[in-house]
């Protein structure tokens, strides 16, 4: 049986999600990987080669990123968006709408940036499956690879973080009047952060039944300002239709030096 040719590409991202492929918990996991996949890196010379599967992590924020995406789309049969940056834009979204101000602050006024607006990869190419998380959960990655090894795509996660929080008897942050995005976030992580005493930041992105307006109302009742609420939601929800409908205007940052 021919192994599937799998290419890994990182655009603008911390590479944490691709590194999960080298964080498998057992030797037998690597043996499985080797049995079914022939792994390549986009950094190495892969021009004119074709691949069965492309795992793309990182978001697209320059022409270089967009060109890399278009190249890999031509070369690959299946495209997987790996991690929150690829799925939603992720943390890098926080530089959107204020890129010039931020560049001035970090590099001075003469610096010419090549960055355009940070976008998830499906803004530029069609994606066959999104595995979100910051970083992705290893068990979810293993499940994805097992599916891909047999020419299948896994089903999207349906339930939100709250289900697992209840199972784990976690203290609910919202009931303590503290912000938490658990109710609107896909449970790709088995409520990792709340299990560890930290509120959910929503890195796995929105469930299909998420009620964004309801969580915004809850945060307002907690005393959060509109600006604070936008900052909480923007990294992992800013690209969604629901968010753009409620908050059509960008977040403005003032930097005084």
């Amino acid at each position: 049986m021919d192994r599937k040719k799998l290419i890994i590409l990182n655009l603008s991202g911390c590479k944490g999600c691709q590194n999960q492929l080298f964080s498998l918990p057992k030797n037998s996991d690597y043996q499985y990987l080797l049995k079914y996949f022939d792994i390549f890196f986009f950094n190495n010379n892969v021009k004119n080669q074709s691949f069965d599967i492309a795992l793309i992590n990182g978001s697209a924020k320059t022409k270089r990123d967009i060109l890399l995406l278009k190249d890999i789309k031509k070369q690959s049969k299946i495209i997987i968006a790996l991690g929150s940056c690829a799925c939603s834009g992720g943390i890098k979204n926080l530089a959107n709408d204020n890129t010039k101000k931020l560049t001035n602050y970090v590099y001075g006024r003469k610096y010419q940036t090549k960055i355009t607006t940070n976008k998830p990869i499906d803004y530029y190419i069609t994606v066959d499956y999104h595995l979100s998380g910051c970083p992705i959960d290893i068990e979810s990655l293993k499940q994805l690879l097992a599916n891909l090894a047999h020419d299948k795509i896994p089903e999207e996660t349906i339930n939100n973080i709250c289900l697992n929080c209840k199972i784990n008897n976690n203290n609910c942050f919202l009931l303590q009047e503290k912000p938490c995005l658990g109710p609107i976030t896909k449970d790709n992580c088995h409520s990792l952060c709340p299990n560890n005493g930290v509120s959910c930041k929503g890195c796995a992105g929105q469930t299909t039944s998420a009620n964004l307006q309801a969580i915004i109302t809850t945060f307002k009742k907690q005393g959060k300002t509109k600006k604070e609420i936008k900052q909480i939601l923007y990294p992992f929800f800013g690209h969604t239709k629901d968010y753009k409908k409620i908050f059509p205007k960008p977040i403005k940052i003032i930097i005084k030096i």
């Binding site: 190495n44 530089a95 931020l102 610096y111 940036t113 005493g197 930290v198 930097i255």
Partner: protein
């Protein structure tokens, strides 16, 4: 002509003219603007974001941001929590070095095209590499909630700490990892390194005792020491048209990281690492040899050293009678500034924050380790090209790529 360097995790391009011996290195990554993103954020948001500057040094960035903020607010940390943080910083270095020398760049000194092929060709070595990585990932998961980005670390302490039974499990894991690390180190203690001797200034933290990882004093191989508070007076960042800021110390290039630390503090290594090091350097013409290719060797020794440190820390924590969870004490935010320098896998890491009375970040500056060593890499490459003029282009290119890989640059850190 520009070409990508192979087998690096980040995108690094080189433009070489073999006739004129000119070379230009380009970090082909986009600026991340984290220092700008942090402005006007509440201090509680910073550690989560800082961790995501990169995944190789995520724990270092996370803890550096936390400790710099604590420095600003003058928050004292419980000794148990301090020890747990040291455990994370040691584990970070082991994890990062392992990924570099045993996963991504192993082909430079071991006869294999890549790490995964070893599963077939050399299953014992493959097994040791997997054991080393899975054990260190397990430790990071248990102590901090994650193996890539921490979850439980926070300003003031931790949101959760490992149970005593988990401390004991981690102790077993670290001892298992140490056995693998010692076997694997032979790859680098017995390797034949290309000969590139060049006067180099090494910078690292220094302390009264031990191999330093957190300290207020920085030491250079020329003998000078200076305090953390004077860091940006001594290390000057230059802005160019690239997203990477180059750093200079006394107007000259310098190196920080495993080889710098080992060159300055080999006498402070943990016992087993020291024994192996003293035996190995018989093969070198001298040590330090000021040969940047030796960074692989230094990282293989540091993996052993920091695993011994992890074992010591876990043994201490398991035996301490007051090991328990200390909830974070409330404190008042105030207008202040704080800074810290720690040793991250690739060397000195500086975080600085200016905070207002409500805890909002008004100014910040981060100097990562990889960009500090970059100028020295450029000058190393020029010397290498001059010294290899009589060799064919293919060999010269290979030597250049091996040198770049030896530096183990974290490209995401460079463009933070």
């Amino acid at each position: 002509m520009e070409q990508l360097v192979s087998n690096t995790t980040g995108r690094i391009k080189i433009n070489i003219n073999f006739q004129t011996n000119q070379i230009k290195l380009i970090i082909d990554e986009n600026e991340q603007l984290f220092e700008g993103i942090f402005i006007n954020k509440h201090y509680t948001d910073i550690p989560y974001l800082a961790s995501r500057i990169c995944s190789n040094c995520s724990f270092s960035h996370n803890l550096a941001s936390i400790m710099a903020i604590e420095n600003a607010f003058q928050i004292k940390i419980n000794p148990i929590n301090k020890k747990l943080r040291e455990l994370i910083l040691y584990s970070q270095i082991v994890q990062s070095h392992t990924l570099h020398i045993y996963f991504f760049s192993i082909k430079d000194y071991f006869n294999t095209p890549d790490f995964l092929s070893l599963a077939q060709t050399n299953p014992e070595t493959f097994n040791d590499i997997v054991k080393l990585k899975t054990n260190i990932d397990y430790i990071l998961n248990i102590v901090s909630g994650g193996n890539i980005h921490p979850v439980t670390t926070t300003v003031g302490g931790f949101s959760k700490i490992p149970s005593i039974s988990n401390l004991k499990k981690m102790l077993l894991c670290s001892k298992d990892a140490l056995k693998s690390a010692k076997r694997l180190a032979k790859i680098y203690t017995c390797a034949n390194y290309p000969n590139l001797q060049k006067a180099t200034t090494y910078l690292s933290l220094t302390s009264q005792r031990g191999y330093p990882i957190i300290s207020d004093v920085i030491e250079s191989s020329s003998g000078e020491t200076f305090a953390t508070k004077n860091y940006t007076k001594k290390i000057i960042e230059h802005i160019t048209d690239s997203p990477v800021k180059n750093s200079y110390y006394k107007n000259k290039e310098f190196v920080t990281g495993a080889l710098a630390r080992l060159s300055l503090h080999a006498n402070r290594l943990a016992p087993q690492a020291k024994k192996i090091h003293l035996k190995s350097i018989n093969k070198f013409s001298s040590f330090p040899a000021y040969n940047s290719y030796h960074n692989y060797y230094a990282q293989s020794i540091e993996i052993i050293h920091f695993l011994e440190n992890i074992i010591d820390a876990l043994t201490q924590l398991s035996n301490t009678s007051n090991y328990k969870f200390y909830p974070i004490k409330s404190f008042k935010t105030r207008k202040s500034e704080g800074r810290i320098v720690i040793e991250s896998p690739r060397g000195l890491l500086y975080h600085y924050y200016q905070i207002d009375k409500d805890g909002i970040i008004k100014n910040c500056n981060i100097i990562d380790s990889s960009s500090q060593s970059l100028n020295n890499l450029e000058s190393d490459m020029k010397v290498l090209l001059d010294q290899t003029s009589k060799l064919d282009s293919t060999t010269r290119l290979e030597l250049i790529e091996m040198l770049i890989r030896a530096y183990d640059l974290c490209t995401d850190c460079c463009v933070h």
